[in-house]
Amino acid sequence: MSAAGVKVELKPGAYKSGLKPVWCPGCGDFGVLNALYRAMAKLQIEPWNTVILSGIGCSSRLPGYVKTYGFNGVHGRALTLATGVKVARPELTVIAVGGDGDGLAIGGNHLIHSCRRNLDILYILMDNEIYGLTKGQVAPTTPTGDKTKSTYWGNPEPSVDPCELAISTGATWVARGFSGEMKGLTEMISAGLEHNGFSFLNVMSPCVTWRGDDQFKEMKAKVAQLPEDYDPSRRKNAVKYTREKDKITTGVLYEVEAPSLTDQLEDMKTRAMAGNGSQSTKEMLSSFYPSF
């Protein structure tokens, strides 16, 4: 996903839609939005050739705040919409965003298959370990034992590590970020946009309203960096930084090269059209005359 050169330089502010975010003051999603503006400016991405799609949730409101083509769809289906946009118009820059409930619970199946297909988009999952919009129910990333609106006696279920899931199901670029780390996050978003294939970015993005002010502090205290000489091309290295209890290791955990879905479909098209070019309707129908 690269952006062609444009004449006027676009500053981060140029990517603002003008709509005021509805998020609570202090919500981690502001950090993600600001990092996205910066990364887009860094790559000079053309807003009119870009589509941002989402499901439903606080985090899924994000497309409305960016001056690109935007699609705030229905709960859990951001990746289905993104699949259609990217496959039908491979030349576009496509970004899907959403929450942990949206992407891992109701939409979990689509995440698995987008990873497996190596769909050439960037997917940013804003992980607040809770259902924000519906006012504080347990999410697939909520730690075991936590009390939420829907787990009065504490969460009885284990949580999932989204990065581990993405790596194991075929994503070719997997990173973890923290909404309070603007510089690192901006770099990750721009690297994810440039990667050919499915780029999965899990951003720890606190919900001050339903997880309390402490969530930000706790996350911040846990943030750690990958070692200087880290080699992200080995799955076994990446797995070491998943399911961490006391740390949130940020950075690009995993990165490999493999043909994206777009590459595969373009190749298929070339093979199908080789020699005879596009077929007319009459030719297609004529193949249904009995032939022995």
């Binding site: 009119w48 705030n72 039908a88």
Partner: protein, 593 residues
Amino acid sequence: MPTRDLTFAIVGSGGDGVITTGDMLAQTGASVGLHVMKVEAYGPQIRGGESSCTVRVSADPIYAQGDLVQVLVVFNWADFAQFRGEILAAPDAIVLYEEADDTPREEIDLGPETDDVRWVPVPFIELAKESAGTKLAKNIVTLGLLSELFMLPQEPLEQAIKGKFAKKKPEVLEANLKGFEAGKIHASKITEAASGKRMQYTAGEPMLLMSGNELSAVAALHAGCRFFAGYPITPSSEVLHLLSELMPKVGGYLVQTEDELSAIGAVIGGSFAGVKSMTATSGPGLALMTEMLGLASMAEIPAVIIDVQRGGPSTGLPTKSEQSDLWQALWGSHGDAPRVVLAPADVEDCFHATVAAFNIAEEAQVPVIVLSDQFIAQRRETLSMLTLDHEVTGRQVPSAGDLRDYKRYKETKSGISPMSWPGMKGGEYQTNGLEHTEDGSPTSMFLTHEKMNAKRYRKLRRVRDKYSFYRHYGAEKADVGIICWGSSKGPVKEAVLKANGRGERVAAFVPQLLYPFPFHEFQEFIKTVSEVIVVELSYSAQFYKYLQTFLELPEGHTYVYKRSGGKNLTVSEVEDKIQKVLEMSAMRREVLV
């Protein structure tokens, strides 16, 4: 006396080559310009199990599967028993059955009136073994036998056999040709059995032999569809199969998604991105798509969804037809979600309806459901090359002026607002499943919601005015008028034309646009008929009840003939109802006089 119209049925189990035999008969008929209709039926087994193939061959145009079978080939009576009540023999049918199967006659149920049936035992297995060295060749023996007995074109049949075994070892082809000969020779020993049933026809130009699903697939490409997303489901999968071959050939893209939620989501995404997009499914898949159908209505995104109906609810009767997805298609949604519902009435119509569906979807920016069904979607029949003079339209795009201060959901008289797509500079907007203002921003204001609902529904008016698809058959003024939809049309049309031939005043009205409904045309039709019969394959009479929600059907003069699907509608059923209503109305006239 020769005949111009014969219906064959071949029944056996999976390994008997029943379908191949039917295919070859159909192909042969089509190759010499005969009119052919071929219907397959299976049990629920994936392989093996009972299967049947019914092929009607006629020198004249046909509109329905033959009700009663004139030539029945049975390899195995146990398999035949699984089709009880579905495959009925004509009173003077010829039954060619495997000699080695000694099922007692009294255990065999051929149908209600079969006293004069000619029972002809044939040693299919033995003939195959003797001539070809394997009982696998018994279907080829059957082809030889049928062609000789009923004067079917033999040369194309031989060609078909050669084609089928071209890739096999030469011995295999030779063995099968011997089998074919053996069938012919055996036929010459029993020629009397076929008296009165020899086909008479003049060979003509070859015809296309296609199914509704195949026509829907080609039609989509003709209408400019360049993106298809779908999840396999019987009886719609042939659309996916054919498009997987053809779509890249025309420069388009196809994805088999992980489920139907994803299929409709991808279609909405593709269409949002400016590419004409479609999916195909059956009832269970449409149920999964329901939420996002509402998204397409709300966000005003064109989408074409083909629903090939099968028996339901739940997994139901996956391989058999029914007309019971109507309510789901019309009303399956939360919220007030305008969509358009079209119903092709025959195989060829699948082409026309699909092209129309794209035009309507793109012009009115709505989801369009094409309600096909197993009977027209999977049966193969002959047709002439289409004229292909269809109008193909697209969506209204914003002008340079519109783009200066672009409002995606701008209020207009027709309700239709110009729609930009990615790549158009200045056309950037956010679309939304949330209620939204003219520029697409979310809102929960009552006033905006009311205004936008009105805008979205207003678009349907134009659809109804421009596309009042319906068909009218039979008498201008009629004693009995039948109303039906979809694949019921075939048997109804044939029954109406037969009644007209007898001098009875009968007519039929078949809407192909089901929603919005061609109301005015229907009112005109109702004025010309005395008695009305609504005919449909839905146990709960979904179509009749739908009509009642906005129409006043003549009180005391309206009859409903409805039953479950699982067995295709027959001409004789319709004729029977026509007779009953004619008698009833004659009686009423007497009383009134």
